[in-house]
Subunit: 456 residues, 2 copies
């Protein structure tokens, strides 16, 4: 019996309309990456396992898709090891390649491998799929695209500024207003840890603080105390409990609070620089917000941390994120190359734009005109016209068979083709075309000039 | 010690210039796919193993990359099976997914799975990577892109005609002149088999015939005899040994030769139809050639067979191919859906265009202007201008650090940035920009209007 076809869970087929919508987002992001001076690279879908393993923590290692070696893959395993039947121990013997898990580690590998061909600072972008054996849920898939831009080889804070402008520009171009770009700085977090006297409590601290809206100041303090953060320490960072106001006011608050931490003050200065620059050149539609609870990839980032939230009207996790990492390429042997980068979450941006109805109609590139097929002679005549139209950039088709008129018209209707052209004996004799407007239902006879005019 | 980074054999990193060149080819193909009325779809990188296995023959099955199940993958294997240590028997227990091997089988799966959403005839295109565990060699990689266009749901020969026009148009647009589109028909081959009295000898026959150029008529006949094809049979298809002349002459020869085979004559008629249509609407730069030795995917195609050869000046295998298959979706339970399609071999086309020096200079989207960074104040001032230029579609950058002038100039030079702008105190006071033309070395002072003019 024939198989009932399906696809692996967490993966998707994309229909023509979905591809068109996805490409609209990708093309918008790519265009701005280019205008901002980023250059595209691409890396292989799979990397040597040792390139990826151990770079994303234990959880990450588990979620990496491994590729089975070709041929008699069990042959390499010695009997003693085979007898253990231990999946973890045996894996490195039967799998040497793995699908990439993100674009950042392959990029670091690329920079180190090609360091002699690269002119630093290197501004690269990369738009490719990544794979994770994660449990699928809304907005989370096992195959999904990442759109990353990074600069390596410069510590200039103008990069951070440029990335904020880039986020703002892309979301403005997508007509997605009301996006919030949340910003923090790892050095601020280190400063807070210093001030509360325990860097190992920092995550507990930020997690608790993040609940301020829900459980109130007292609730947050209670949670912090329960995690072993002292009252004295909490007192020192009290301004965080009323952390409202403009970004400038927030920065002033932080400056006072972190006055005893050199690193904390360095973080404040970095934030100040970026905020000043944005004041000089305001954002178009996004809002920049300082969020001291933002701690994504804490072990990874060393300076600025970014995360982008969709407009409040949509319930969706972050639609982008990034930050500065001072030693990304160190894992591959190239020290002291500072990098900073951001990522756009294509799939979530898609869901947000879909939910808000912001996809422009013109996104879907439909066929503009269908020629009805009345038989070989007429079809061949029509094809010459189809050929001319295509050469002028008009998507034109002829119905492949001389099927019943109704069937051909139905096809045009279902595919939303706006014009249908009928060429029979009399049209061929008179050098004319009978054009039916599929929206209005109007029908008229035109010459070739008149036909072309329809598509100008 | 840090790892020395590398990538798996048969895979590639693509530098910015390579990505730009690849995209030039892909965009050209995609644009023509669209103008010819094809719609894009995308399918997942990996499919359920049962979707792919058994579809490409034994050799194909071996070359499919299998993905290891997540978690404790050995756990599912019972002890008796485990004890066999038989890689082939165990594989289905530890791997349920596999990377796609081509775009045709996933497309067939897509059509069957989504048949109720599709309006037939369905003209789709698909441009995505595929993976094969093949031995890498020149023009053959383990990860490579296929660019496919297919129509399913119509038996009209106008489709075959349209695909020939599509090949011609794409290669014309790529300025790749002298391409040969070789055409054959499975029914012609069946007819020859009928005439020589043994369908099981057909492959031996075509392989031998293909050597005519090298070993001459006598050599070919000798080989055919040695394969058990009788002298009488060889006599019947004698015209094939002098198979020269125009396509029309070749067709006439075939008609005579295959007069006793109904299927053969049907094939001749199909070829005749296509050749007539092309005579009415000649190709722009490609040549259509009838090649009776063309037998690619013999068990797969049921009508027309196509293969595209690069110009004679380049030594390269086929750069495209395709044909008609009357029951592709049958393997997934949907009967009687005829399809016809073609594929472009991106990597080989790239190598041909590179070898012939046909990539236009404009393909590489370089940054148009670099602003020199003289310090924070000047940089911030410059960034406002950078912002304006980007909004007008000019790729503009500022050097991120106030490094030495020479270093910044070197960066512009290496990246082939044509203009460098210097904004110091006096320029800021006078609202001017000092522009250096990096090609001529000329330097001049302009206002913003003058600056913009450089990029019109």
């Amino acid at each position: 019996m024939a198989q009932k076809p399906s696809i692996p869970k967490g993966t998707r087929d994309f229909s023509p309309i979905e591809v068109a919508k996805r490409n609209y987002i990708i093309d918008t992001i790519r265009e701005q990456f280019r205008l901002f001076g980023f250059q595209p690279i691409e890396t292989p879908s799979f990397e040597n396992s040792e390139t990826l393993m151990g770079k994303y923590g234990e959880e990450g290692d588990r979620l990496i898709f491994k590729i089975l070696n070709s041929g008699d893959y069990l042959n390499k395993i010695d009997e003693a090891l085979y007898a253990t039947k231990d999946s973890n121990k045996i894996i490195s013997k039967i799998s040497e390649k793995a699908l990439r898990y993100d674009l950042t580690v392959p990029f670091a590998r690329y920079v180190v491998q090609h360091q002699n061909e690269i002119d630093f600072p290197f501004k690269r972008f990369q738009i490719q799929p990544v794979w994770r054996a994660d449990r699928p849920q809304k907005g989370r898939f096992r195959e999904f695209f990442q759109c990353d831009a990074d600069v390596v080889g410069s510590k200039s804070l103008f990069q951070e500024f440029d990335f904020i402008k880039l986020y703002d520009r892309v979301f403005t171009k997508l007509d997605l207003k009301g996006v919030t770009i949340k910003m923090n700085n790892r050095k601020i977090l280190s400063g807070i840890a210093e001030v509360i006297g325990a860097s190992d409590k920092l995550i507990d601290f930020t997690v608790a603080l993040d609940k301020l809206d829900k459980i109130g100041e007292d609730g947050v303090k209670k949670e912090m105390l329960s995690k072993g953060i002292s009252e004295k320490a909490i007192e020192k960072v009290k301004p965080l409990f009323n952390f409202a106001g403009t970004t400038s006011e927030k920065i002033e608050n932080l400056r006072g609070m972190l006055s005893s931490s050199e690193e904390g003050l360095k973080g404040v200065e970095e934030l100040q620089f970026i905020v000043n620059a944005i004041q000089e050149m305001p954002l178009e539609t996004a809002t920049l917000d300082l969020d001291v609870t933002l701690a994504r990839g804490l072990n990874y980032y060393t300076g600025a941390i970014f995360e982008v939230s969709a407009p409040d009207t949509v319930s969706m996790g972050s639609i982008g994120g990034g930050g500065r990492y001072d030693d990304l390429t160190g894992i591959f042997g190239l020290k002291d190359v500072s990098g900073v980068g951001i990522s756009f979450g294509l799939d979530r941006i898609y869901l947000v734009i879909e939910e808000l109805g912001l996809f422009p109609d013109a996104v879907i590139p439909a066929t503009k005109v269908l020629f009805i097929n009345f038989g070989n002679k007429e079809a061949l005549y029509s094809l010459k016209v189809v050929d001319l139209l295509r050469k002028e950039g008009v998507t034109a088709e002829i119905y492949p068979d001389d099927a019943k008129m109704k069937k051909q018209m139905n096809y045009a209707n279902k595919r939303n083709i706006p014009f249908v052209v009928l060429v029979g004996t009399s049209e061929m004799e008179n050098n004319t075309f009978t054009v039916k407007d599929m929206v209005s239902g109007d029908q008229k006879e035109v010459d070739f000039v008149g036909l072309r005019k329809l598509f100008e």
